[in-house]
């Protein structure tokens, strides 16, 4: 939708043929959805604007205004659950915090004694002096429009507060903790009568005013405020979603470990999701209370949190228009349809003289419907009414047939993206000194050392379970070594978290592939660039020229990297990676790592699962990378690949380094032969390679 257009490389530096290839692959995807959606959005908003004029029924406009409030809540929860994948079962707590924040500063609930302290505030029209028999008191009269952002900020603060302790928890535990917070907040509201007026609820909350005109109880102005709120929140959601921030959230949702390894600071981005989601609820709470002019603890209990969850599950988790639609449908069902249907059934009952038909009150069954929707959607349509990811049709046979074109002849030009990655300093690029890793009683690595000189390829080989992948994990910060040191380009990175290791210039792939399965090829590679981009929440929302330029350059950079693999990946930019072949997924993972412009690339069995031709192709591409100055550490079982690529080979067995040297030296080493083939084989000749 919005932001989709940025994907098109309008004036790419790519060769004309690649661009032509892109257009051939998916001409409709580039232009049409964007135009179509813009027309669609305009029509929807035009109808929404005209609705109170066309349909002059105050009760219905009021229901629609309420529905807008729930749609706003659904949008907020969608940021937390849909984008970042953090299941929050106590979301209504933030709704309550926003509501009571406005309620406390716009009602007669809090009335401290008057003193000179309040005079400047009186001058700012934030408070009024109210004469009382027992002496003058302060009456808060903070404007609704001012309180909207303030409530959002207060709720965001609580979002960070509640979010911080939950960051380490797994999905279901996180859900329970948020449920606990969701329970605590309304109880506190009930038991703190001096601020909230307890179970009776706040009364006489001031209605919003505009240029001296009070909204009062007429539904129409509230409807338009709600519509404005929704418009803003949809814009915020979609701009965040298609930015660096949205990509980071979705990466965390898809695979936390891979997100960290690709340079995403998980703590920061999870808290950001909590804060922004809470801010949406805070602003909505203010709107809702101003509209109802009262707030009671019952308005924010667990069923409300569940209702919002039902709305986003129904509409489509992660889909902006989906959750709005889901919220609107369920609210309209509740306030119009079930009511009308009950009336019809009563009339029918009277007509055919059936007593029980006249008694039916379908509105009571709304929670039953919620439950059925949750179960049905989860069992039969988990992606919701409007799925967040569009299915892209598979390539046609002709497009697949055009596939064998490889990048090799044009490589020199295309590898320009790697021009500035070569490590220029003196001394070794990577130094691993006496690293020991222990899992409980098992020593996975015992005092392993190795050195990677600049512009070299080092292969790490060894039997299964010898500690090769653990070595990668220890070096990249996924596992904290018990002892030892890791230096990258002379900088100690031993205890750095994974995202900082990537920031320092070391990127990796995983043995068992850790892609972001539900994201597209392009999105996966763009996430690899995360650490090299700077767009923050503000930039993503305002889309200043600098942000747009950065985003366009990022996309171009990704296309150039994907071009390294010829036309293996380029025609599939918009394909979800889980739909790719295994070999292509391996390529995407390498491209993702390359996108971070590393000085050192760690490849964990890059050719696993590839046939001989594909292996040869990839080996050639790795060689190309090396020739451009990239240093590479490679775990590999195929010894011909090792021999053709590596300058140096390190052999691990049972967590210890047993040999090191050039491929020729290593394959004649007695110790290595014994590790691979057992004792008896070592008595024979050197038959490893």
């Amino acid at each position: 939708m919005i932001g989709r257009d940025r994907a098109a490389p309008r004036h790419g530096t790519l060769g004309g043929e690649t661009f032509a290839l892109l257009r051939r692959a998916s001409p409709v995807q580039w232009v049409a959805p964007h135009l179509r959606s813009r027309v669609g959005v305009s029509l929807v908003f035009a109808f929404a604007l005209l609705f109170p004029v066309l349909h002059r029924n105050d009760a219905d406009i009021d229901s629609a205004a309420n529905a807008l409030a729930y749609a706003a809540l659904a949008l907020g929860l969608n940021i937390v659950v849909g984008f970042a994948g953090l299941l929050d079962l106590g979301y209504a707590a933030f709704f309550a915090i926003g509501a009571y924040t406005y309620g406390a500063f716009a009602s007669f609930q809090i009335q401290p004694a008057w003193s000179g302290f309040w005079e400047p505030f009186q001058w700012l029209q934030l408070v009024a002096r109210m004469p009382m028999p027992t002496g003058d008191v302060v009456h808060f009269t903070v404007s609704f429009w001012l309180m909207l952002p303030i409530s959002a900020a207060v709720a965001a603060l609580f979002g960070v507060l509640f979010g911080a302790p939950t960051l380490r928890l797994k999905g279901d535990y996180l859900a329970i903790v948020t449920l606990g917070f969701g329970e605590i907040v309304p109880i506190v509201a009930r038991n703190w009568p001096s601020v909230t007026n307890g179970a009776m609820g706040l009364n006489g909350v001031a209605a919003p005013q505009l240029f001296g005109w009070s909204f009062g109880v007429d539904a129409t102005p509230y409807y338009y405020v709600g519509l404005g709120l929704i418009a803003v929140l949809i814009l915020v959601s979609s701009r965040l979603k298609s930015s660096r921030i949205g990509r980071a959230w979705m990466a965390i949702r898809e695979d936390e470990i891979a997100a960290a390894a690709m340079g995403i600071n998980r703590v920061k981005f999870k808290l950001l999701a909590f804060a922004i989601g809470a801010a949406f609820a805070g602003a909505t709470g203010t709107y809702f209370v101003a509209k109802l002019q009262t707030a009671t603890p019952e308005m924010f209990m667990f069923p409300v949190s569940v209702m919002i969850l039902v709305m986003i599950v129904f509409g489509g988790i992660g889909s902006i228009w989906g959750v709005v639609l889901g919220a609107m449908i369920l609210q309209i069902l509740q306030s119009w349809f079930l009511e009308d249907l009950s009336q019809w059934l009563h009339a029918l009952g009277r007509l055919i003289h059936v007593e029980w038909l006249q008694q039916i009150e379908l509105v009571q069954s709304i929670e039953m419907i919620f439950g059925l929707i949750l179960v049905t959607m989860m069992l039969y349509r988990r992606q919701g009414l409007i799925p967040a990811t569009r299915a892209v049709p598979a390539l046609s046979l002709a497009e697949q047939a055009a596939q064998v074109e490889l990048a090799a002849p044009r490589a020199a030009e295309r590898l320009r993206v790697l021009d500035n990655v070569a490590y220029q300093g003196d001394g070794p690029l990577l130094e691993v000194k006496d690293v020991t890793v222990r899992f409980g009683g098992l020593v996975a690595l015992r005092s392993v050392s190795l050195t990677v000189p600049a512009r070299s390829v080092v292969a790490v080989i060894g039997p299964n379970g010898s500690g090769k992948s653990t070595l990668f994990n220890a070096v990249t910060g996924l596992v904290v070594p018990e002892a030892g040191k890791v230096n990258l380009a002379g900088y100690d990175i031993t205890r750095l978290p994974p995202h900082d290791v990537l920031g320092r210039g070391m990127a990796r792939t995983f043995q068992n592939l850790r892609l972001f399965p539900n994201l597209t090829v392009l999105e996966n590679v763009l996430i690899g660039m995360h650490a090299r981009l700077h767009t923050g929440a503000f930039g993503a929302l305002t889309r200043l020229p600098g942000t747009l330029r950065e985003e366009a350059q990022a996309r171009e950079h990704c296309l150039e990297i994907l071009a390294l693999f010829g036309n293996r990946l380029l025609p599939r930019l918009d394909h979800v990676v889980s739909s790719l072949s295994y070999a292509n997924r391996r390529r995407v993972e390498i491209a993702r790592a390359l996108a971070s412009s590393p000085k050192l690339l760690l490849l964990d069995e890059p050719t696993a699962g590839m046939n001989p031709a594909e292996t040869l192709e990839l080996a050639g591409q790795i060689k190309n990378l090396h020739e451009h100055g990239l240093s590479i550490v490679l775990i590999e079982h195929k010894l011909d690949v090792v021999v053709s690529l590596a300058d140096n080979v390190v052999v691990l067995d049972h967590g210890e380094k047993i040999a090191e040297g050039t491929p020729d030296v290593v394959r004649r080493d007695e110790e290595v032969i014994r590790a691979y083939l057992g004792r008896s084989a070592s008595l024979g000749s050197a038959a490893v390679a």
Binding site: L169, D172, I184, I187, G371, M378
Partner: protein
């Protein structure tokens, strides 16, 4: 009542509540141990089975507190009540597993948990729409016998709760540790994939866990009714959350932990209400839930769950 007697009384109350929470917590912990699933449907299984228990006792002609039985008649009525309620609850649990959760087995992340919330809502509203919102008088045929202990009162119903809970928990302990199916259950909890490869019918183990867990919830529901003399469509939520807290506190996945956690939560509820204020009991319990999950997610007796990375 002296202060000492007051506290003694609260300890008696707390132990009774705790026994009930422990029975309910066992269902959470058994399902979590095997499926790593937080089963919100358990809340409503508890609530629905309290109605099953009520109808079972009413079938014997017991209405409210009007009919008092003694001797064999009382024992017979109670045994009948417990057997019917536990069987009904167990079958409800098995049905939920078959209809709503088995198709979700392969789903990633929190999808299965969201489904259980939906199931819980469906059950809750079935009772609300079918039976009504007002609370129902629960039949209780037990005579008002009580003993005076240091100023506190110990009633027959408390004695009954303790005995029934003790017998059921002992039975479960023996089942899990001494039978073939119990051993299969422990193996599946350790590693379902390996258990399957060793020829264990994992589906059967899961069904057993749901049956036993739900049957124990049924027993807890009957105890609830006999203790408070009422039931209603809303009893599942607060009792369920307390029991869940108990399971977490004891170490989710640990059977002994669930029993211990239940007793502790029961005592905290009774004594906390006495010492602080009943209004804040919920906040105390939810704070325990949050604090344990955040700072000691393995609880008192839990094994450390291996986080799949």
């Amino acid at each position: 009542m002296t202060t000492g007697a007051l506290y003694l009384q609260q300890i008696i109350n707390g132990l009774s509540l705790g026994a009930m929470y422990a029975l309910l917590a066992l269902g959470f912990t058994m399902v979590y141990g095997i499926l790593e699933l937080i089963n919100f449907a358990h809340f409503s299984v508890f609530m629905v089975s309290s109605f099953i228990g009520m109808w079972a006792l009413e079938l014997l002609g017991l209405q409210g507190q009007g009919v008092i039985l003694t001797g064999f008649a009382l024992v017979g009525a109670l045994v009948f009540g417990f057997v019917v309620t536990m069987l009904g609850a167990g079958m409800l649990g098995v049905a939920i597993e078959r209809i709503a959760l088995r198709p979700m087995r392969a789903a990633r992340g929190t999808a299965a948990m969201i489904t259980t919330i939906g199931v819980s809502y469906v059950l809750l509203n079935s009772i609300l729409l079918g039976v009504g919102a007002d609370s129902k008088n629960f039949p209780n045929p037990m005579p008002e016998m009580h003993w005076d202990i240091g100023g506190a009162t110990l009633r027959l119903r408390e004695l009954l709760i303790w005995c029934v809970s003790l017998v059921l928990m002992l039975g479960l302990h023996l089942f899990v540790n001494k039978t073939r199916l119990g051993k299969a259950m422990r193996a599946t909890a350790q590693d379902a994939e390996a258990a399957r490869m060793m020829g264990i019918d994992v589906d059967r183990v899961i069904v057993t866990a749901f049956f036993l867990g739900s049957a124990l919830a049924g027993a807890a529901a009957l105890i609830f009714g006999l203790y408070y003399n009422y039931t209603s469509f809303i009893i599942g939520y607060s009792a369920g959350l307390r029991a869940f807290t108990a399971a977490v506190l004891g170490g989710i996945g640990s059977v002994t932990g669930a029993m211990l956690g239940g007793i502790i939560i029961g005592l905290i509820e009774a004594l906390g209400g006495q010492i602080v204020s009943v209004r804040w009991t919920d906040v105390i319990i939810f704070s325990i839930l949050v604090l344990v999950l955040v700072f000691a997610p393995t609880g008192l007796l839990g094994r450390s769950t291996t986080q799949r990375s």
